[in-house]
């Protein structure tokens, strides 16, 4: 089973609105996670401009020796990314699924303010289930 180290959601202006880490590897404090989020936001923007391919939508996968970083940006500009062990499979599906959970349990919550940090218990619960058992592979979509 693929190990996921952490999951981030950043709003379209680059602010970290959700951070969750799983397992012991790559644990970070709040400041570091904020730094990673804003760094990634800028790198993503720069990559769009530097890309030799026209119509590039930014980095989707960053491979390093000790981790992989998969990123998914919705058409509205919200970015979802996971840091996971190298070679982990089905991460695109997981990110799509997280996006669906976000639309269901965050955006539909009338007391959630757009672009603000996510504090929704239902979202937490469903996300934990999706990540822990890697249910995304089962969903097969």
């Amino acid at each position: 089973m693929a190990a996921i180290y952490s999951l981030y959601i950043i709003n379209k202006s680059g602010g970290l609105i959700y951070y969750k880490d799983y397992g012991s590897a790559g644990r970070m404090d709040t400041n570091d996670s904020l730094r990673v989020a804003s760094l990634w936001h800028s790198m993503h923007a720069i990559s769009q401009q530097l890309s030799p391919v026209s119509g590039c939508l930014g980095i989707e996968l960053l491979q390093a020796d000790t981790f992989d970083l998969h990123c998914f940006q919705s058409l509205t500009g919200t970015k979802f990314f996971v840091v996971c062990e190298p070679g982990a499979q089905h991460m695109e599906n997981l990110l799509k699924f997280v996006y669906e959970l976000y639309t269901d349990y965050v955006l539909k919550n009338p007391f959630y303010e757009m672009e603000m940090p996510i504090r929704c218990e239902l979202f937490d619960i469903n996300l934990t289930q999706a990540v822990q058992k890697d249910r995304v592979a089962f969903l097969g979509r």
């Binding site: 923007a45 919705s74 058409l75 509205t76 500009g77 919200t78 799509k96 996006y99 669906e100 976000y102 639309t103 269901d104 349990y105 955006l107 539909k108 757009m114 469903n126 289930q129 822990q132 058992k133 249910r135 089962f138």
Partner: protein
């Protein structure tokens, strides 16, 4: 809830001995309650059925099996099913939103126009609960949805007094819904980036309206440079039972819809202006929404390259 189909299948087994009076007087219930063993078995089956639907990983067929066992046993002993649980009419899986269930609103197919004879007009909206296992669409009455919207408009009229203000407020409410709805639409409809405004309006009419209102719309009246068009709605679940009184003639009753479209397009960097051209409540034959693209805001960052 499973009763109809079951009564036909198992009628001879479980329902022969039960008369209507027995059911009404609660004789059956007392019988079941007195039997602790069957009661605890019933509870156990219920827990199993629940567990199977929320368990990780999901085993849909197991959930359907336990759901069936639960329903069968419940009917055999005459214990009424737990009203807080909803089961699929076809496969009897216990349905849980977010796990094995999609909820949508659907417009009834009957093509009755809004004339003055409301009494014989039986249009009815449905909430459709789609079971992910057998894909059966369980329908329930959705008049509550229509009535709730009516109550909101009524309340706004009372609070704001001016019809113009109500129009503005409805549009703003729609906008606030639209900026959230767009993400759900993108996440669940699997549409990809649109190439031009024509494609965008087409997707709104064909996919968007279908997904959230259960009706389809058509796109017409394009202008020469492709920035302005009309979305024509023949059916609209919001206006069942509505007749505009004389003192509200300036009211755009469905103004929330135009706000939703404006908000949704705003989030994918298109500034638009959405206005009602025709309205059934004002005596026209269809609803017509004019969508006008004002500006395409490019997704760039607010800095210049050479500074």
């Amino acid at each position: 809830m499973g009763k109809k189909g079951r009564a036909q299948k198992l009628g001879s087994v479980s329902h022969t001995a039960i008369s209507l009076r027995e059911e009404a007087t609660g004789k059956i219930q007392t019988k079941a309650a007195s039997n602790t063993k069957s009661k605890s078995r019933f509870e156990h089956l219920k827990n199993l059925a629940l567990w199977a639907t929320t368990n990780d990983p999901l085993i849909p067929s197991l959930a359907a099996f336990y759901g069936h066992q639960y329903a069968t046993f419940g009917e055999a002993t005459g214990v009424p099913p737990d009203p807080s649980l909803m089961t699929c009419q076809r496969c009897e899986t216990v349905l849980q939103p977010g796990f094995n269930l999609t909820v949508r609103i659907e417009k009834n197919k009957s093509k009755v126009r809004h004339k003055r004879k409301k009494t014989d007009n039986i249009t009815q909206n449905n909430v459709v609960y789609k079971c992910h296992f057998c894909l059966h669409q369980n329908r329930k009455n959705a008049e509550l949805f229509t009535l709730t919207y009516g109550a909101i408009v009524r309340q706004l009229l009372t609070d704001l007094e001016e019809v113009e203000e109500v129009n503005k407020q409805l549009d703003q409410m729609g906008y606030n819904i639209g900026i959230r709805l767009i993400d759900e639409f993108l996440a669940k409809s699997n549409v990809s980036r649109c190439n031009d405004f024509r494609e965008t309006t087409d997707v709104i009419a064909k996919v968007g309206f279908k997904m959230f209102l259960g009706v389809t719309a058509s796109v017409t009246n394009w202008d020469a440079d492709g920035t302005c068009c009309s979305i024509v709605l023949e059916d609209n679940p919001l206006v069942d039972f509505v007749e505009l009184p004389d003192n509200c003639q300036g009211l755009y009753y469905c103004n929330i819809l135009s706000g939703v479209i404006r908000g949704a397009l705003d989030m994918v960097s298109m500034k638009t202006e959405v206005t009602w051209l025709r309205d059934v409540l004002r005596g026209d034959d269809v609803f017509e929404l004019q969508v006008k693209l004002l500006k395409h805001v490019p997704e760039e960052y607010p800095y210049k390259d050479d500074e």
